[in-house]
């Protein structure tokens, strides 16, 4: 007969193996290990009596975690419901309360719940809510239009959900969403660019190095603490940045976002575009130069208005 301690030790081994498999991205193996560990944990819990035996409550706690690692929300909730009738310490009660509150769940549990058939809608609600602002922000900087950004963000989510079985609970969901959105946007612009010889010509001209640009490019007319600006000034500045970005071809905009917001190196960007690091570096400088020109023109226009 399996003793609770022996079962518990097997559970621990399987949990470690499951976590390692998840880390390697082998989700089927991970789920198998977690699933087996769950069954053993429940077996151990059934052996231990009475119902509120601390060792039993402890193994039930582990079983609940395992159910959530597999995305089986219903099983986890059944165990949590069972503990309602048990006499638990305040600290233990608080621990169990966390299982109920999905907004406190880590991404891994929520993703595992979304991967299942049917996907857990509440888990998806929380994931969408949790990562929406960052996704929308990225889309806004690419599309420069809030409606298009909203559509692009939503489309990125749809792409991810259509292939939700391939989602990795151990992966970085916000980064993945941002990549999907950026790829969608790039795909759209790629066809537009192919269609527009002028745009291509413009980009080719930008391949040429710009010897007058050295080091970090700065824009004039901007206060150091932007958040200290009056709200109407902030609104105007946001419009100006969008206008400056609008002057750039989609490819240059993409390169600036990749370089400055995603933090990709010029070599990494170059690999994607099939260009040298030097070329990308010149694109980055060209992009910033173009933005600077916009601000300089705006300043001149404002000064002209003042002296008139």
């Amino acid at each position: 007969m399996d003793e609770p301690e022996s079962l518990r030790s097997k559970v621990a081994e399987l949990m470690t193996a499951g976590a390692a498999a998840r880390q390697r991205g082998e989700e089927i193996v991970a789920e198998q290990h977690f699933g087996e560990a769950f069954e053993l944990a429940m077996k151990a819990a059934n052996v231990l009596q009475p119902a509120s035996n601390p060792a039993r409550v402890d193994i039930l706690h582990i079983a609940t975690r395992l159910a959530l690692e597999c995305g089986d929300v219903a099983k986890a909730e059944r165990i949590v419901d069972e503990t309602d009738s048990m006499e638990l310490s305040t600290a233990a009660r608080e621990e169990w309360r966390r299982f109920r509150n999905k907004t406190e769940w880590p991404d891994a549990w929520l993703i595992a719940a979304v991967r299942r058939d049917p996907p857990n809608e509440r888990a998806l609600d929380i994931l969408a809510e949790r990562h929406w602002k960052a996704l929308f922000g990225r889309c806004q900087l690419l599309t420069l239009n809030p409606h298009k950004a909203n559509d692009l963000g939503q489309e990125a989510w749809c792409r991810v959900l259509r292939a939700r079985r391939t989602l990795k609970p151990g992966g970085n969901l916000p980064a993945y969403l941002a990549t999907v959105a950026t790829n969608l946007w790039r795909d759209r612009n790629r066809s537009a660019r192919r269609a527009g010889p002028l745009a291509e010509e413009r980009l080719l001209a930008l391949d040429a190095p710009l010897p007058d640009e050295q080091g970090q490019t700065v824009l004039g007319e901007v206060l150091p603490d932007l958040n200290a600006l009056e709200s109407h000034e902030q609104a105007m500045l946001a419009i100006d940045i969008d206008k400056a970005m609008e002057r750039l071809s989609p490819r240059l905009r993409d390169v600036l976002v990749a370089r400055y917001l995603i933090g990709e190196s010029c070599a990494e960007i170059g690999e994607r575009y099939g260009r040298t690091e030097q070329t990308i570096s010149s694109w980055v400088r060209a992009g910033t130069r173009e933005m600077r020109l916009y601000f300089e023109e705006r300043d001149r226009a404002e000064e002209g208005n003042l002296t008139r």
Binding site: E26, E27, I28, P119, E121, R122, A123, L124, D125, L127, A128, E129, W132, K133, A134, F136, G137, R138, Q140, L141, P146, A149, N150, G153, Q154, W157, C158, L161, R162, A163, R165, T166, Q216, T217, V218, L219, G220, E221, V222, L223, P224, L226, N227, Q234, A238, I241, D242, L256, V257, Y260, L261, G287, T288, M291, R292
Partner: protein, 182 residues
């Protein structure tokens, strides 16, 4: 002299502002409705089409046995579904490869070129269970072939990884023109 700021900082500030001004996140139910596959919306239609694909499979099997065609040719039964019509067809698999959990498939339809669309939504139907597996977009190339690149579930990767282009494919296809592709 006026103070100045690097582009990076400016873009980061704009990003933070955009994030702060984000509209409400889409609801889970709304997203799931958007990605709900057509076979769940119209299960009867899917069942009927899957049934016709099975019959086509049998018919191709008989035709292969009757003719002296080389056994390495395994046409994939295809149903092409438009709003008002359904047409039987078959696909010859020209390329089949799974790498990095991505399926890369190229096929040629037996349908005459004037019937073909620029892009289809291709629904993969299991040959053994007649159940839908997944759907993907199939894009027509300049020479009239269609190509698909799609991420597969770990389960399908495991099952399909050893398949060769000359093998009998474990799926049948239902093709529906993608909006605006004709």
């Amino acid at each position: 002299m006026k103070p100045q700021l690097p582009v990076e900082q400016l873009l980061r500030w704009r990003l933070a502002r955009a994030e702060a001004e984000a509209p409400p996140a889409p609801r889970g139910a709304q997203l799931l409705e958007l990605v709900r596959p057509w076979w769940e919306t119209w299960p009867e239609r899917f069942q009927r089409l899957a049934g016709r694909l099975s019959q086509l499979d049998v018919a191709y099997g008989h035709a292969m046995a009757d003719s002296r065609r080389t056994p390495i040719e395994h046409p994939v039964p295809v149903m092409i579904v438009r709003d008002s019509s359904e047409a039987e067809s078959s696909a010859r698999v020209l390329y089949f490869n799974i790498r990095d959990k991505q399926l890369r498939l190229r096929f040629q339809l037996s349908t005459s070129p004037d019937m073909s669309e620029l892009a289809y939504e291709a629904t993969f139907v299991s040959r053994s269970t007649s159940k839908p597996l997944f759907s993907s977009s199939a894009q027509r190339s300049a020479n009239g072939d269609y190509s698909i690149t799609e991420g597969l579930s770990a389960e399908l990767v495991e099952k399909w990884s050893s398949l060769k282009v000359t093998d009998e494919m474990p799926f049948r296809l239902i093709l529906r023109p993608l909006d605006g592709s004709s």
